[in-house]
């Protein structure tokens, strides 16, 4: 599984190279456009800080009180079968519901176990490989006034479950 590792190393330099060259080729003032976009990054992050404060306090209390341990304990049978690291369980539930909540959870996992631990890597993979399903469905279906969404949610949740299983599997293979 060295390919997966190699790909991870080359991805960022490659995309820099491609985007910069295409931009130059299209005669775009790359630096000016970059600065303009970077300003947007600040507003994006500033916008999520209030929800991060709220959610990280909730996650912090939930962990410090031992309630998280209870939750993890409750899901032991399932996590054992699928070999999911038990500490990643809250992430799995929060990810489809809220982006900032799962961000808070992920940061909590990093704080306790470290980003380079197995749980940290699995949780990172989970965070990157799924979307906030409920939010997306609500926004897109809501925008055009669809009331009966039929099997959409179920299919999306199946994809979500597949990503959980795949994330655990690929992390075991690559990082062992």
């Amino acid at each position: 599984m060295n390919i997966v590792k190699e790909l991870s190393i080359y991805a960022i330099p490659a995309i820099f190279l491609i985007i910069l060259c295409v931009g130059m080729y299209k005669e775009i003032k790359v630096y000016d456009v970059f600065i303009e976009g970077a300003k947007e990054g600040i507003t994006t992050v500033l916008k999520i800080i209030p929800s991060l404060v709220g959610l990280m306090v909730a996650v912090g209390v939930f962990r410090a009180s031992g309630a998280l341990d209870l939750l993890v304990f409750a899901f032991k049978p399932v996590t054992n079968i699928l070999r999911i690291p038990p500490d990643a369980v809250p992430m799995i539930f929060l990810r489809p519901i809220s982006g900032s909540a799962s961000l808070a959870m992920l940061s909590d996992i990093f704080k306790v176990h470290g980003p380079d631990s197995f749980v940290g890597r699995v949780a990172s993979t989970l965070m990157g490989s799924t979307e906030t399903i409920f939010y997306t469905l609500a926004v897109y279906f809501g925008a055009v006034g669809i009331k009966k969404i039929r099997y959409t949610l179920v299919a999306a949740l199946i994809a979500d479950l597949a990503s959980v299983i795949a994330a655990v599997w690929i992390c075991t293979v690559v990082f062992g």
Binding site: K5, L52, F110, I146, Y151
Partner: protein, 256 residues
């Protein structure tokens, strides 16, 4: 850790629920079959916030109650103070990489990369969305949304996605029922094929990872699995329950 008697009883309850998990799953199956949950999700636009209200409330209240039973009240107080500080530190830690990323992606957007890549993946579309007539604007909007998502251009993706939904709605005979194409589009959208998962990398870097980008490869593999599972599931479901759109599209094509 679970020395308290109250906690013991809680554990017994949990054990009981674990034993009954099978029948619970069946119940959940019935629940979904009648689509009540799904209906409610869409009838309320603000449902995510409603759900999050309950979750946030439950996490804090359950946390405090369990903490009191556990005798960890001072830990809770400390957690409240330190977590709020951590949130700000995290926000600042994210700023650098997020700025870098949105800046770079602004160049990508201006140079018309979305359009280029969209053209390249056009052929796959007819397999995934058989109900969309060729050259219909819905197809273009869908591809551009997926490509924008793939490149992590969140700001560009949402308007394109809404346009795609509007176009799909024009092909829809029953205006309040989702078509197979809509389901397929949203499943692909939520499976979120992403080239560079910038947020995760930023968060890992902020947490002091030795190699923040090492998860890119694993994320690709997991996403591909998710997307494949989603597409297969959507295809099977549309084969089982999706006869409505097929003949309607036939008449549509005849008209136009």
């Amino acid at each position: 850790m679970f020395s308290n008697i109250t906690l013991r009883t809680l554990i017994y309850i949990i054990r009981y629920v674990q034993l009954k998990a099978g029948s619970f799953a069946i119940l959940l199956g019935y629940f979904f079959q009648y689509n009540n949950v799904a209906d409610n999700i869409c009838s309320l636009k603000s449902v995510r916030f409603a759900v999050l209200n309950y979750i946030w409330f439950a996490m804090l209240v359950l946390g405090i109650v369990v903490g009191i039973m556990n005798g960890r009240v001072d830990e809770i107080t400390r957690a409240v103070v330190s977590s709020s500080q951590n949130a700000i530190e995290l926000g600042i830690g994210l700023l650098g990489i997020m700025c870098l990323w949105t800046g770079l992606m602004n160049i990508a957007e201006r140079s018309g990369i979305i359009r280029k890549v969209s053209k390249a993946i056009r052929p796959v579309m007819s397999f995934l969305f058989p109900g969309i007539p060729k050259e219909h604007p819905a197809g273009g909007a869908i591809v551009m949304n997926l490509v924008a998502n793939f490149l992590g251009l969140g700001n560009a993706a949402t308007p394109l996605g809404l346009k795609a939904m509007n176009e799909l709605q024009k092909l829809n005979p029953e205006k309040d029922v989702a078509t197979d194409e809509m389901s397929m589009f949203l499943v692909l959208n939520t499976a979120c094929l992403q080239f560079i998962p910038a947020t995760v990398i930023a968060l890992r870097a902020a947490a002091g990872s030795k190699n923040p980008t090492e998860v890119i490869g694993t994320i690709w593999v997991a996403t591909l699995c998710a997307a494949t599972a989603g597409v297969v599931a959507a295809k099977i479901f549309s084969y089982l329950f999706g006869n409505k759109t097929r003949h309607v599209n036939g008449t549509k094509r005849g008209k136009s």
